[in-house]
Each structure stands twice: as structure tokens, then as C-alpha cells.
Amino acid sequence: MNLTLLSEISPDAPASTVRPISRVIVLSLLTVAIFLTVTYFISNAFKSFQRRSAQGLFARGDEALARGDGTEAVADFETALSYAPGDRSYVLKLAQALVRSGHAQQASAYLKTLRQEEPGDGLVNLELARIAAHGHDITAAMRYFHDAIYGAWQDNGEENRRKARLELIEFLLQQRANTEARAELIGLTSDLPHNAAAVAAVGGLFLAAQDNQSALKMYDEALKLGNTEKTTLIGAGTAAYRLGQYGAAEEYLRRALAAGATGADLQDMFKTAQNILALDPYAWGVRQAARAERALQAFKIAGARLQQCTASPPQTAVKSPLMQQWEETNRRITERKILRDPDFFDEAVGLTFQIEDAMHQCPNPTIKDNALLALAAERPDLRQ
């Protein structure tokens, strides 16, 4: 800096020679007006250019995002944001692109800034919820999901809120937080659209959350609304099966199989349900003779299971108490005796259930064994 003396004021100069205030103000106003006008035009022209650039970059970034190219989208949105720094939609898109390109922490910072400005923004909260969910932070995820569900949405608010709740439920189910998931499902059903697909989907979620009663109710409703898809029938059959409504389960599963559903588990469940209905000695509406026949059949099945599971060389066999008990009862059991002696009937059936329960960890049970085991679970009073 080569500073040269630019002026000298004489010490004898008067302290002040001020021009009148009115002239000063007029001149200053004129200067300001001219300067203001020039600045206005320059500023407008440049802003218009920036706006166009930002819009172009935003569109390019959107395309990149749709293509799945998160990195390219981030670059475009960042540049667009530099032209339009206050634009929330740009910041939001940038955050989404950052998430897509694996930079969740950075996205979270942007989103939290947006949330601070508008805490009730549904979309911002949803994005934060997704980030928290990805990080398995249940508390934060639930908070943000709820803020998204009860937040403000620009378009399709109802649908977006429903989708947000669905996402939350799926997240909770993944985290095995079934209790929380069930609570959310109840909230979901309150404003569910009355169409078969939506109802069936919710039924599936109830099923996943182990609320079989609600699941069956949803599936029934879906079926009434005309949704006879095999998935609906399978879901209904499964729910009914879990609830012990084997008759209904058998019916649903039969229809599912008839509709073309396949799968070993499905077949097993169906056959088990069939066998339960066929073997249940306490089934309603069965004649006494048939009951006795069922009891005897079940007893024989349990015996076979017991022998299979406890098989050992006879010469060294030390029979288990259960085996001894079975053999002793087997010596006495006849269809006539079961028919005439209700206590013996209960004793035989109880022993049957006890054997099946005791042997449930033994591998390779038959369908009939599974059926008897299911029946045993419903009659703990009979197992000795």
C-alpha cells in the first residue's frame, strides 16, 4: 500500500461550513433513487438468470434421481441450491439425493434444518423417519413417523399420511415391535379406504403382528368386498388356523389351493386342518360312536409316534413310564370300552395328547401327529 498524502486541511479552516439540510437531503435522495433503480434492474436480471439456471439444474437432478444416480443428483441439486439458497424444495431434494447416494448423516443435517423451520412438514419428517429407521433408532423413527402422520402435506394429505403409517408399521414389524405395530394398525384401520385390496393388505399386517383375530376380521371383510385372491384366502386360512378355527381354516385353505396356491407349508397347514377336523374326538356334532372311533385312532397314532421316537434294541430296552402307560392302556382299550366309559375315554384321549406333547421335538412327525399336537394344545386340562 503506497499511501501518499491525499489532502491537507489547514488548521485555520473553519470548524464547519455545512450546507443547508434541505439541499443535502434532496441531493442524497436523488442519488439514492438513481442508484436504487440501477441496482433494481441489475438485480432483477441476475435473479432471473439464476432462477432459470436453478430450474434447469433442478430438473436435471430430478432426472438423475429417477435414474438412481444419487451422486449426479446431489451435484445438480447443490448447484441449484447455490442459485436459489432459500428454496425448501431444493433442499429437500438434495436431502433425498444424499440419502440415495448413501450420505444419510448429511441428509439428516439438512432435513433437521428444514424441520426446525417448519416442524410440522410431513415430507421432511418422513424422510427423517426413514433415516432413523435405517439406523434402527426406533424411538427417533417413531417420533418422526408420527410427526409425518400428523403433519402438514401439500398434496394428497390423507394418502400420504396413510402411506407414512404403513411404512411405520412395516418398520416396527421388522424390528419385532409387535405391540407398537398393533397399536398403529388400529389407527390405520380407522381411516382405511373401503376397498378390498387395502383391507386385505392390512389383514396381512395384522397377521404379521400376531393379531390373528383382527387379521381374520380384515380378511373376511376383504373377501366380502370381492377380494378372492389366493393371498387373501391363504391369509384368512392362516389366521383362522392360528385361532383354532380349523373348520374355517380348512375351508379357506381349500379355496386357496383351488385358486392355484402352492407351497409345502400351505399343503401341510391344509392337511393338518383337515386331520384336526377328522381326528378331534371332542368336535361338536360328532356321534358317540364316531367319537370313540376317533379316540381309538388317535390313541394308535400316538402310540406309533411314541414307538418311533423311543425306538431302541429290545433286549436292552428300559421302557419309559409313558410307554408303559401306553402299553397298559393299550391292553385295555377297545372301541366298545371307550364308548361306554367316559372316564376311560378322557383317560385315553388325555394320554394321547400327553404323548404327542412329549414327543413334539422328535423329528419327522406325520400330519396326523401335528393335528393331534394342535388338539393337545387346546386341551391342556386333559394332559396329565
Partner: protein, 584 residues
Amino acid sequence: MNIASETRHDRGSGRLLQRALSNEEYLFLVLAIFIGVLSGLAVVCFRISIDASHEAFFGAAVRSSPLRLIFIPAGAGLGVAVLVFFFFPTVRGSGVNQTKAALYIYDGIIPFRTAVGKFICSSLAIGGGHSLGPEDPSLQIGATLASLLGQKLQLSRERLRLVAPIGAAAGLAAAFNAPISAVLFVIEEVVGRWTAGIFGATVLAAASSVVVARWFLGSEPLFRIPTVEFIRPSELLAYAFLGVVGAFASVVMSRAIAALRASLMRMPRWTFILQPAVAGLGIGLIAVAGAPQVMGAGYHAMDQAMHGEFTWQMLAILAGLKIVATTFSFTSGTPGGMFAPTLFIGAMLGGAVGGVERVLFPHLTGSPGTYALVGMGVLFAGFLRAPMTSVFMVFEVSGNYSIVLPVLVANTIAYLICRNLQKIPIFDLLSRQDGVDLPSMEEQREAVLLRIEDVMRQVDVPVIRSSETVASAIGSFSDSQAGMALVDDRPRGWTAISVAAVEHAMREGDGNRSLSELIQERVDALYPDSYLQSALHPLSISPLLPVIHRADPQRVLGVVSLHDLVERSRNIEPFVTRGSSAGC
């Protein structure tokens, strides 16, 4: 002229002078608003021109081609150097010292050519990628406009000196979008003091300029601050460490700039045309090597750092490279400021230190943005040596008071360490390298100011009430060896009277008259805690002054004469020892 006519004339002149003075006082405040508006408009145009230059040079792409990155800063540097060398020789540097020089040396006068040159050259330089900021040039542009307005209005010398800093505050406020920080910086670093008039005018100007700037450019901050929070007091240690690291970075940068600038200034004058081009080339190479973030002011990168988009390693690298790039740009004489680079380095360093600390201590809750924000304040306090401004600046840009403790702790630590390691602040260093000895605001703050109690002596003269007669006063003199006495004529004041004057009055036959009838001028007593300056005017009237107790005015604690003031001051060293201009 008889006494009556003298009195009428005095009253008329007094009214005229009073009217003129009050006219200028009001004028000054109104002028401050116009200065603010004009500075705001100028800064708006300035920022647009920087953006337009950048757009013209680099286009809309985030990442330009390597050839552009290398050659545009070099070319811009060359173009700017030619303009500076041949047309605008006074626009080298940041502009802060030039504004101070206007205040302390040139009676507030800054040629308008300076503003034009600063505007054009800084726009080209910053838009072309040099590692400089627009805030300091905005400060100088505002000061120049204010000076021009003041000159046209033929303000008094005193007012004209003050009008440039007011314009500086307006320019800085508009550039920074931070009126409080701008006012504080100008008061802390340029003017060095504040009165009601200075403060009022500065605030009016800054507020006006910010209103104008926001009207045109929007109220969005230069970089978005994410949610910052400070949860655990124990984390203050982490921020204290940041203060230490920032202090050392500040010292490194100060010494690098001082050393390289001194070397470059010793080179032949014709090399001044090439130096900015070479600096630009260096910056271009850094950009091509993988750090284009060091180019320009760097607001976008600061935004990214605030939002945790860089790893701590990258942040540390960027901090280091920005120090290098800024040193290149500034020492080569390229017009532009150091505010934005300082904030950039602080943000990167803060984020890096925060990142390392979180690796070592995962329980730390401070986000990257919090550390980056505190880091900005640290560098502002350590490098620019504006501690108060640094604290308020952080609050103003973040709008968040929850981090007050980390900011206070870190900034203070940085400032104190830098004061110990680097005695002379950077702006003072630069001015001395230019051969201009501007007053150092920091030295003035730290100077030990003498008070009356430091120079007064015991009461060794008679203290006589003014109601006593001349004859009685003679008696008092005979009781002591003193040649003077203090006369207490309160509530009208005090005076000193010599034995010769009393004897003369006796000879004139005034022995029975009271001393109060003979006193012509009176002064107020001094207090022990008053500064020496308060004694200068009274001592011109009375050769001896009493020093009385504030709570017990009847107690005369001591006396002061001009001789005491000179003799006792000689034995006291009130000023901080100055170091060499190359730093110590």
C-alpha cells in the same frame, strides 16, 4: 469594546455556532442512513458482480474442467494485477487498513477511484477463484462512499474522519448480513472507541444497509446453519481443545502471510504484475489436485462442512489448503478480503477437530455443524483478533444462543494464546509492512492508562477556605513553607493562589476582603480514579489542583500540578512493548 457590547456579540455568535453544531449533529444521523442505503446498494451490486464473474468464468457446473480451474484464476490474477498496477494502485490488500488510514491519517478522505477499483478488481479476483472474501472490500467500498458523501457535504474535519468508519460498518453489515457484528468490528478494530454519536450513526448505517441488502438479495444467510446444540458441560473441554488448535492455526497463518508478503514486496516492482497470476496458478493446481473448495470465498463448502458432508480428514486437508491458498492470494497483492477465508478455515478446522474428538470419545454429542460454527468464531478471534465481534458473530449467523459457553471458552482461549504467540495482530503487521504506523486497537485496549492517583502527591500546601480574608491567608502561608495554597470556593469550585498574589493584594489594601472576591477562575476538583486527561484542561487554568474523595468530598487526598504529572509519568511504562513487524 465595552463589557455590554462584548456580551451581546458573544450571545449572537454563540447562538449561530450552536445552531450550526446542532445542524451538523442531526445531519450526521440523517447522513448515516443515506450512507447505509448507498453502501447496501453498492454491496448488492458487488455481490452480483462476483457471482456474474464466477458464472462467466466457470459456468454453472459444480466441477469445472481442469484447464479452467488452473488457467482462470491465473488469468484473473493477471488481469487484476494489470488493473491494480496501472490504474488502481491503492486497492491492494483487504481494505481494512486503508479505512483506518483514512480515519487516522487522511482526515477521512478516500478517493472515489478506490471504490471503483476495489469493486472491479475484487469482483474479478474472487469470481475468478482467488481465495479471498468480499466482506473486506465491501467495508472499503462503504467507507469510500461515505467519505465521498461527507466531502461533498463539506463536513467538519472531526465528522469527516468518523464518516468513513460508519460507511465501513454499513458495507460490512450488508456483505455479511450481520449488522451487530459489523458495528462491533468497526468499533473494536477501526475506531477503537465509541460515543453515543458514533454508536448511533454506525448502527443506523448498518441497519439501513442490511435492510437494502436483504431486500434485493433475500434474507437467506450466506451459509445455512444446521441445528446446533450444546448438551453436556463436560464437552467444554472438547471445545477448549478446539480453541487451542485454532490458536495455533491462526498463528501459522499470520506468520505465513507476514513472511511471504514481506518477501514478495521486496521483489522488483515489475513482478507485482505477475504475482497474482502465479498465486492464481497455485490455487488452480490445488483445485485440480482435488480441492476446488478452496477457490473463492468458499461459502458453499462451509455449508457442506456445517452439514457433515466431509470426513474429518477432508476437513483437515481443506483447512490446511485454504491457509495456503489464502496466503498465496493475499500476499500477492490481489484485492480481496480475509474474513471469508478465516471463517472457512475455522469451519473446516472445527469440523476436523470435532470429527477426531468423536472418534476418540464417541459419547460426545456435538454435531459437526456445532464444531464448525465454534471453529469459525475461534479463527475470527485468533486470527483477526476481534474477540467480542467473534462471539457476537457466531450468535448472529446461527441465531442460536445455546452454544454460548463453547463459543466463549474456545474464542477466549484462542485469543489469549494468539496474543502470547503473535504479539502483533495481522492488520497491524500488514500496515507496518506498508510503512504506515496505524494505531493498534489491541495495544490501545491493553495499554495501562494512568490515573490521577498514579501522579498525585501528598497535600503539602495550605488549604484555605475562600471566605477567609487576605490578611488571614497571609497567616496561613507563614505557617508553611509552601509558595502556593489551595482555595476552597465550593460550591463554585477551587483555585490555587500564590503567596506573591496574596502579598500584592495586601499591599493594595485588600487585606480585609475575602479571597472569593479576588478569584477570577475556578475549576472542579479531581478524583483519584480519573484519567490524566481529565486534569489537562483544569491545569491550564489553575497550576495546582486538589484530589478529593468521591464519597467524602471534604477529604482532600492529594494535590496535582503539571510538574507532578510530567515527573511522575516519566517513571511509569504504560504501553505494551511492540514486537518486530515480521511477527514474534
